[in-house]
Amino acid sequence: MVSDLTSILVIVLIILAISLAFAIGANDETLSSLVGAGVIKFKVALLIGGVAVGAGMFSFSFAFVAKTVGADLLGEGLTYTSFMLLTVLISSIIWLVVGSFAGIPLSSTHSLIGSIVGVVIVYSFLQGGVNPETAFNWVKLGNVVLSWFISPVFGLIITFVLFKIIAKTYLSKLKGLNQIENSEKIFKWLLLITVIFAEIWVGANSGEALGILYGLLDNGSLNMGQYLFYAFLCGISSCIGIYIAARYVIRNLASQMIDSRPSEGLIIQLSTALILMVATLLSLPISHSHVIVFCIIGMGLAQKKEVDYKGLGKMGIYWVLTFPIAAAFAGFIYFGFNLFGLT
């Protein structure tokens, strides 16, 4: 009976993880600058972006961010139970849905890690023999949280510096609209390459879905072959997510970008991709949206444009609150499961 329940639960978790991969693709707006610049046909852009995200997600699934989320955040000898993983998924999904309906921009990464922390704390209190102090790999957790603050700041700095260098050495030398337009034609092809590069790292750093699967691998519910198969399905799912569902967000954002310069889009995307790449190689799950927002701010500062500090402050509060609220929420749900003997 227990074994049946566990098997069903594993199947549910796999389905949810694949669905989450679809949602990650559906919510990805990286292609907007490419579509806005009219570099390639819309459907081709969606296909290329989808394949890049899927490929990035699958290629880095054997370790890196997936391993951090699915195993390395936990203390020595501790693995997730299926109910812990289910709670993490339920909590982060509900918190994101509530955030979306309330119009609050939230990070799925922060929400996921917050949920993990909440669940593990409750687990360590309720289960005998687990010391809350050793329930976490504090160094890893510390690094992850630290990266959330460092990555946007670095994104801002890199964008600022990159723009200043390109402006000083090239863009400021362009005199007339024809010359500017011709140079931007070259930038638009570079933008295409950069966006593909960025999409790969967006996929590679999206630890939400693969982290759950890695948790199942780590607790023995899946073997490596099964894990890689489902990771591959997650990659395909995120690709389909972009192709089917992200088109609305992308088209909407792209229509606001028709007069934006490909060179600016290129610098922002390149900075974001570099940050995501470094974070992925360091196995740190970071928020893509936080990085891109700060890269845009960096671009604004470099061009001496006004920054909406009030709006930014408000966004900052939500970002900071996401982690503790998701933790409390997940802890509460897991406590509820425990009351029914589901651990």
Partner: protein
């Protein structure tokens, strides 16, 4: 202006079509200004001929059509909307000119005195200057935005000077001792306002060019 065939028009680039269009409109604008100068000299035949030329000329319509069909199909990226707006703003000069020309043909006015005539000729000279300068500025957008920006600064300065002249003229008009025919008064008032309406449009156009300069130029 030399007639240009449909085939030749199709061969021209967006930039070349814009230049051709602005040359065409400027030529008509200069005809209008020259026509008013004939009016000041009481040479009514040439005055009527010039103003009718402005009203009847429609070569710019063909250029406009060629431009529109080209810009919608063009692969220009971010400057497409601005280039279209720029073109429409040039077209507005023609509309203002045509409107003024029609109005001026309604009556044959005789100017009150030599000083008034002199001052009208002065603002017409300024209008001619800023009309030519605007044409140059538009042509420089494609090749040198800084130069276009500087020309626009000169236009704004000249337009400020014209504004002073306008007040002096209106002041003079309102303070003549003799009783003018109401039609003469009204005509002269509207003539001054018509000239200034054109100057105002050229000024706002030059501000738009300066906006484009700040939008597209990147300073290190």
């Amino acid at each position: 202006m030399k007639e240009i065939s449909e085939k030749e028009l199709k061969k021209l680039s967006i930039d070349e079509l814009t230049h051709l269009f602005v040359d065409n409109i400027n030529e008509q604008n200069l005809k209008l200004i020259e026509g008013i100068e004939f009016l000041v000299e009481e040479d009514f035949d040439n005055f009527t001929q010039n103003l009718n030329y402005v009203i009847e000329t429609n070569t710019e319509v063909r250029i406009k059509k060629a431009f529109e069909s080209k810009i919608f199909k063009s692969k220009l990226m971010f400057s497409k909307a601005d280039r279209l707006k720029l073109f429409n703003k040039i077209n507005d000069i023609k509309n203002i000119g045509e409107f003024s020309a029609n109005k001026m043909l309604l009556y044959r006015v005789v100017f009150p005195d030599e000083d008034f005539k002199l001052q009208i000729l002065n603002i017409l000279k300024s209008l001619k200057l800023i009309s030519n300068q605007l044409t140059d500025a538009i042509k420089f957008i494609g090749s040198d935005l800084t130069k276009a920006h500087d020309i626009c600064e000169n236009i704004k300065e000249e337009r400020r000077r014209m504004r002073k002249e306008e007040w002096q003229l209106l002041n003079r008009l309102y303070n003549y001792d003799m009783d003018y025919l109401s039609r003469t008064f009204l005509y002269l008032k509207e003539l001054i306002e018509g000239v200034m309406m054109m100057a105002d449009h050229i000024k706002s156009f030059s501000e738009y060019i300066q906006f484009l300069t700040t939008k597209y130029l990147i300073f290190d």
